[in-house]
């Protein structure tokens, strides 16, 4: 298994444009999470999807949206891009999500580097 895969690797967009990032989880993993990592910061949680439903959302504006497909792959969409959206976008998958305190290991992809000019 190649692990979590993300596409594209790099992307350059201009302000106001829209972008779609893609993620394929590890085979058998049903949960996908998205994180934004700005230079010099730790990853910040954006969304979590499990069984095609949104299970969690971080503190991001409505310009950010996501969805999960029947094959458990996922897309992250960002509309009306701002310079501040320039970051590394990470996707992580896990077998399940936990509704209790116990969490399952998340496996991260290599990320998509988005540059907004």
């Amino acid at each position: 298994d190649a692990g979590v895969t993300q596409s594209p690797t790099h992307l350059i967009k201009t302000r106001g444009q829209q972008v779609t990032l893609r993620c394929s989880p590890i085979s058998g993993h049903k949960s996908v999470s998205w994180y934004q990592q700005v230079l010099g910061q730790g990853p910040q949680f954006i969304f979590q999807y499990y069984e095609k439903e949104e299970r969690g959302r971080g503190n991001f504006p409505d310009r950010f949206s996501a969805r999960q497909f029947p094959n458990y792959s996922s897309e992250l969409n960002v509309n009306a891009l701002l310079l501040g959206d320039s970051a590394l976008y990470l996707c992580a998958s896990s077998l399940v999500i936990s509704l209790t305190a116990f969490s399952y290991e998340q496996y991260f992809g290599p990320g998509t580097r988005l540059t907004v000019t």
Partner: protein, 108 residues
Amino acid sequence: AQRVTQPEKLLSVFKGAPVELKCNYSYSGSPELFWYVQYSRQRLQLLLRHISRESIKGFTADLNKGETSFHLKKPFAQEEDSAMYYCALSAGYSTLTFGKGTMLLVSP
């Protein structure tokens, strides 16, 4: 809201020296704490979690609820330990809150 603080951006030690990467957290409930590591040109990966109480690559971390800390320790640093280390907290649903990270540089 939960928060994770890693006070050191950079920690530089010599090979064979002890290492302690600090992590403090704030959360009102019972969190799960993790250490993730990112080696050069590699993806972020789990190093260890407090619930399993295991030692990975010689690293250990003890959850101190009284001090709300989860410091990462290793008695003798190796050059291959040089990497970016992130402390993370999970408050449920497997979502993670990360600290800003500490770069560990181990010199020969």
